[in-house]
Amino acid sequence: MVLTLTDMAAASILTLMIVVSVLVQSLLPGEGLITNEICYRQKVASQILEASMINGCLSKLARLYEAGHGLDSVLNEMSQLCPQNLVCCLKIYVPENNGLIACTGSIHDTLYGESSVLITTLRGKMDLICQVSRR
């Protein structure tokens, strides 16, 4: 059987289509995989906050805020809970003036998981936000 030029062109186009589709599938992560990664990072962030609540860090933050002292030492203590292969950023906002009053760490990726908890103090509410991304 001798292949004509048309046959070869058709075969080449088909091969190219297959290669392109395989490359697209393998190189670009699907939306499902991206949300899977975000979900995992959000879970890590939630667990950091949950462990901090049990350890008494939220209570310390509330008392320091009421006393008008800095909150960085407690945020640093909380950031020790971050897994080694990930980086964590902890921020405290006061919703009334939407102001950032304390922050520790930074995230290195646009793909990050985020969880937050509320802290009610006698001076008002605070939002503690934990963001987790890849190192």
Partner: protein, 314 residues
């Protein structure tokens, strides 16, 4: 078209259709898996968010109750009010917390129904059950709580709905925390002092003049109060008691003796409350008085009215 070319064309067309179908089915199944993964992750994220919010409510209420209890205990003791009013005072502050927490959750796309019930305070005893996780969350993992501290309990019902994917979560918590300040201990000591003075004061009145009677009452009172304060020191309380003894003639052979403990200040040195940025000991400030009528069969001499004022402290 020659037959060989027809066969080739057929083979290539069939191959192209087959590859197309394979690619299409791969893409469809991947889309299906991706959608499944998206839904699953969305549900997991919503469920994690709701679970964290319920834990947040429990621990935030814990620390809020602890903070407001500290301030209330301090002011209640300073006014010498009944410790049971503390329950009502804490209860009255709950709507503020509920509203503030609900607002905070709305900002996270969570619809919430929160109810705080049965806010109660009781004297802490060593036999009482302790929730170590809740105590740890307010910074008392290994604190040696003593009898007479304040045990605070409440129940928290929380029902949350995620506004985006309508996931629901419902939980009931029992809050059990202890404030280490021995408020009940202070009141117990105050009641002991009151009953001692009430029971013994009638035996302290003797003498032939108003001054002698007042002086005898003072000597006995100081002796009883000093012993009482010495025992307080052992229990790590501080006490300061100011008194006024008035002996007033009431006819030729009788008199009225008023023993008034005008400034009783009992302080618990073992615990603190935080008032803004200041850590303060709690001091119970109170007073009471007893009146004794004394009759001397031989008649009474001296001034019509004698008053002795002094104070004792440990």
């Amino acid at each position: 078209m020659p037959s060989k070319q027809k066969v080739d064309a057929f083979i290539w067309s069939a191959t192209a259709i087959c590859v197309g179908i394979i690619l299409l089915s791969c893409s469809t199944s991947e889309n299906f898996a991706s959608t499944l993964l998206l839904n699953m992750n969305s549900n997991r994220m919503a469920s994690d968010k709701l679970q964290l919010a319920t834990q947040n409510a429990l621990f935030d209420l814990n620390q809020y109750l602890y903070c407001i209890a500290g301030g209330e205990i301090y002011h209640l003791a300073a006014m010498g009010e009944d410790p049971q009013t503390l329950s009502a005072n804490l209860w009255a502050r709950m709507p503020n917390w509920i509203n503030s927490f609900n607002e905070g959750l709305l900002g996270r796309d969570i619809q919430s129904e929160i109810a705080v019930e049965d806010v109660k305070i009781d004297p802490y005893t060593l036999e009482k059950r302790i929730d170590f996780i809740q105590l740890n969350s307010i910074g008392f993992s290994t604190y040696p709580f003593q009898d007479g501290s304040v045990a605070i309990s409440a129940s928290l019902k929380i029902k949350l709905t995620d506004k985006i994917n309508h996931a629901r979560f419902e939980k009931f918590f029992r809050i059990q925390i202890i404030h280490p300040v021995r408020l009940y201990g202070l009141y117990d000591e105050f009641n002991n002092l009151q009953s001692m003075v009430n029971n013994l004061s009638c035996n302290w009145c003797y003498g032939n003049t108003t001054y002698a009677i007042a002086r005898n009452v003072e000597v006995n009172l100081v002796s009883v109060v000093s012993t009482f304060l010495a025992k307080l020191s052992v229990k790590n309380f501080h006490g300061k008691i100011a008194y006024v003894i008035t002996c007033t003639k009431n006819g030729s052979n009788s008199c009225r003796v008023d023993v008034v403990l005008t400034g009783i200040e009992l302080t618990d040195l073992s615990g603190y409350v935080q008032l803004n940025s200041i850590m303060e000991h709690v001091t119970l400030k109170a007073n009471f008085g007893v009146e004794v009528l004394y009759t001397n069969g031989f008649g009474l001499g001296g001034l019509d009215r004698i008053q002795l004022v002094n104070k004792v402290e440990n």
